[in-house]
């Protein structure tokens, strides 16, 4: 089963616009901020005590993700200025790599004597990101200088961890190297990298010789159990997604049914019990972590952009690993790509959210903060860089590789899965599938394929039509080769949350197609926290385009609960007046100044 953006060309539409925005704006924006903050210069490894911009333990990974994104662009296009920047960074990596293969900025210039002493300090995580970047750059350019550095580094890591056991810990405190080593294996064809990946995965949950962690509980870094015994998502949500992605790679490669079952259980636990309607995961800022099932507060949602991207990684890999090939995996990817992952990027491509809340109530926030200073709130406007700026370069590498999620080609069956919709072409070994569509503006998708295709019927879709006969397979419609037109009804609809999500009792969210909508105060005079959906009027929703918002906005006839005469309590029916409600796609919120925002509106 192949899914690889290298065989996919976005020929138009929404995702092509995002691809171009990243290439033309976001890549430069992230690089410039990294340059200003000393992250680029840090690769020279000449920082000394007393100089500004003391390197941080995860700076290598920030820049490595950006390099990986650059490599994906260079695959498709010749961009000499970009290539030059990457080459300059590789020069420094090559120059500053230790004799034994080690490369890590912090542990070279800040605490050189402390190499491999602190499980929490992201060395293997940084190594993993450099390896992913090296694989991408090799695939893009065919030049193996960076890849060779990383092969040497991986061999050194194998020696330290698998042979000498000389590190103060056995597995990384922040997972990432596992999935990176799988890429090293697939890119180089060298089984020793697969062996090292397996070592880290199989060692996880065994008694560790050094369990120093920010949070004492082993659950925080998914160290509480061997991988086959992990069935509930715990701890830091990004670490969890990266581990589960590595587990899914391992399950796909090994065919281990017990491991596959663990992956399925984890996917189920995340998407059916611990995921916001936007796809956001990891509901608490305390440890950036999962909490307990159905604990999904809106205004305090932590929902890191990286965690949403991580769930895309995991879901796509699990689709590959799971012979059942249900549409639930691509449904989860779609939820993220249109909502919780994409909301991390401003519409102008230059600013970022780390946290993606489902409600902003500036008044409530100020009044709660007045009585309790210790409260943590997500920021209400995107910024250009964070102290811990992992999310921006994660978007840099997601957007040029978004084709990974569109098509999956099963060589043994000779069929292609159409997992995501957008004007694009998949082409590989004479197999060709073309999509033409205005999705998600419109629900009609034209597909021309010279092999059989499985077309996903999205989980949100209540009415699906096709102009050709088809079989139903686990949420996909299977068609023979040829020209096919499918249509997904795009009428806006209201979703309710499971009643165990108590903050959403009495509330609903409006969706259209895969897109989750929200109300922003800037569009709704009088604020958003007194608006009510009128469920009898949702069928009259008006869908239109307005300038500045790249997806349709929706206007509804709703209600507003009035502060009648200042009364604290008043008869229910005397409280309401008709009110227009304008909704915008959630991923477009917070682009017009600080504003109250609400995803889950009360319903009447």
């Amino acid at each position: 089963m192949i899914f690889d953006h290298r065989f996919v060309t976005l020929t138009g539409g929404y995702w092509r616009e995002k691809y171009d925005l990243n290439r033309d704006v976001t890549m430069k924006a992230v690089y410039d901020r990294f340059d200003e903050s000393g992250r680029i210069a840090a690769f020279r490894c000449d920082w000394k005590e007393g100089m500004p911009n003391r390197p941080h333990i995860f700076w290598d990974s920030d820049v490595a993700k950006w390099m990986e994104g650059a490599a994906y662009l260079l695959e498709k296009e010749n961009i000499p200025a970009l290539e030059e920047k990457v080459e300059a960074l590789i020069d420094e990596i090559e120059r500053n790599q230790h004799e034994d293969g080690y490369f890590n900025i912090f542990y070279t210039v800040v605490e050189p004597e402390k190499r491999w002493t602190n499980r929490d300090c992201h060395e293997l995580y940084c190594a993993g990101h450099l390896m992913e970047a090296a694989c991408a750059y090799y695939n893009a350019t065919g030049r193996d200088r960076f890849l060779r550095c990383m092969m040497k580094y991986a061999d050194y890591i194998a020696k330290v961890f698998m042979e000498e056991h000389s590190a103060a810990f056995n597995t990384p405190g922040h997972e990432e190297i596992e999935l990176a080593l799988y890429k090293m294996y697939k890119t180089t064809g060298e089984p020793r990298f697969y062996e090292l990946m397996k070592y880290f995965l199989e060692t996880r949950g065994q008694p560790d010789n050094h369990e120093a962690q920010i949070f004492a509980a082993p659950h925080y870094a998914q160290s509480h159990a061997p991988i086959r015994e992990q069935h509930e998502a715990f701890g830091h949500s990004v670490r969890a997604m990266y581990l589960y992605s590595g587990m899914a790679d391992y399950a796909a490669e090994s065919g281990d049914p017990v491991l596959l079952d663990a992956c399925r259980a984890l996917f189920e636990d995340v998407t059916r019990r611990k995921m916001y309607v936007t796809g956001g995961i990891g509901s608490t800022n305390i440890g950036e972590a999962f909490t307990i099932p159905y604990d999904l507060p809106n205004a305090k949602a932590y929902t890191e952009t990286c965690a949403s991207i991580g769930l895309m990684f995991f879901a796509n890999r699990l689709f590959r690993a799971d012979p059942e090939r249900t549409s639930a995996y691509a449904d989860a990817v779609e939820r993220e790509m249109y909502n919780g992952a994409l909301s991390g990027l401003s519409l102008d491509g230059e600013k970022f959210f780390y946290e993606n809340p489902l409600e902003i109530n500036l008044t409530e926030r100020h009044r709660i903060t007045a009585t309790n200073d210790g409260e943590h709130w997500p920021i209400a406007e995107r910024v250009r860089i964070f102290g811990c700026s992992c999310c921006p370069p994660n978007l840099n590498r997601l957007l040029p590789a978004i084709g990974d999620y569109f098509y999956a080609y099963d060589e043994s069956e000779g069929a292609v899965w159409v997992n995501q919709f957008g004007t694009s072409v998949f082409e590989r070994d004479g197999v060709k599938v073309t999509q033409t569509t205005d999705y998600p503006m419109d629900g009609t998708v034209k597909i021309i394929s010279n092999v059989p295709v499985y077309v996903r019927i999205p989980g949100w879709c209540r009415k699906f039509t096709a102009d050709r006969p088809h079989d139903d397979c686990h949420g996909y419609a299977k068609f023979d080769a040829g020209e096919i037109t499918v249509t997904f009804e795009m009428k806006p609809f209201l979703l309710a949350a499971n009643p165990r999500v108590t903050p959403n009792l009495g509330r609903a969210v409006l969706c259209r197609g895969p897109i989750v909508y929200c109300a922003e105060a800037v569009d709704n005079g009088g604020g958003v926290h007194t608006l009510y959906f009128d469920r009898t009027r949702v069928h009259d929703a008006r869908v239109s385009r307005v300038s500045g918002i790249p997806l349709p906005v929706i206007d509804l006839d709703g209600l507003r609960m009035e502060d009648t005469d200042g009364a604290l309590y008043a008869p229910l029916d005397e409280r309401f007046t008709p009110a227009g409600i304008r909704l915008i796609p959630y991923c477009c919120f917070a682009n017009r100044g600080e504003s109250d925002m609400l995803v889950w509106l009360p319903v009447r």
Copy 2:
């Protein structure tokens, strides 16, 4: 303007039952717990270090309130066993009163050297409660032994505070003595007690020579401003109510219009911005305090029983002080007496709530506690005594004096205000008003009066009829002397909160007459947190009586939000199934074991 239970006889109905329950059960229950815990023996003032039951700084006041309640009963009936207990306590007070007039158990036996050194330690508060009890006992029995002790104590306090200024503070950290001194003045006719009351009130908000307080902010004990400049309710809610009651007494006595305006503003701030629908006030456990307007969380409502009783004190006094005589004051009293104050007492009369929450969600509580140990939750079942057991004896003195709230007689106009409804007689100086009614079971009230009467039209009432012509006066219907039948429509109705009370958006509360209803899990299989009101079916509500609940229960056709197939998100209309909802009066909750409970249900 006279309102005094001494001239009111409850001749039947709901409040007569509560009067009897207190006399027959609650008085004994509280006395026995106070006896077991050492509070009664403490009056012997023979405690020594190393002995059990070390007296606490507020024990005097706990017992004094019980004595006051006993006095109110002794006014009406000869109960020798009760009188004997009171006399025994007075014996000890007389015996242990210091030469100079001082009486305080803690500062006699535990820290005798620290008299008047700590503003927070309730000396003047205890003194006030003893004075209230002494006045009540004198009025009941005509015997002045206790009153004379307290006159001596008050004179000593005047000397220390007004002449010598020898205490480490100028005003009490916990108000109470102000309103007590007003009672001393009215009972003895001695203006010097009024002068001392004025001193404490006028000195409040002036720079204090010793501001030691549990909570540093002067707002906590209402010390932030002179009384005429206090327009917003701040700080500890019981302290606030007692202060405002004293201010209202002062305003009534003095006719000071600026002070009256301050009282009105405080009443408005409390009842229109900081009061639960049950009448509960003081929403946070942190300082048992008011927070900011509209901050009224349900499950964590602090809403101390004493604070609700305190609001009754304040509202009734303000009715006397305010020449406008609007019905808002008696409306507030009614809300408290049927809901937030009465919920402090179990139906069997033996157990008590200190906090009266509007929601109990045991599942949510356990899961939040699992992630944050520091959370404070109200208890879910009443107990027999508290460490700080101020609320039980406050009910002891409220219930036998409930007649205070029923009638107000304006001697100059020769008219009677009927403020509360219940079968009863008011009789004073040849003026006689008789009520016959099943209120609140039924909305019809028959009144026979030999003077003009103002009958309150409750704020909750949307349909009022009378068999006689009447004038409308600030929420009262004024009738000439004679026989009158008035009817308040008792159809259940839904109330909505002001939209600024964000936890109640999308929710409503069902009321019938003055009674706020709630749903308890014990009556609703499947729990209460998934129930929805169907607003189109509320008119079909069925009102009935069941054994064990002394007020009507209500059955409704509503809806339940289903956990359909465990789905985290599902189309709104697929979530609901019809469900019967049983509601019981809020004041009757938590009498059948620990159970989830909800006042504000979502509405569909």
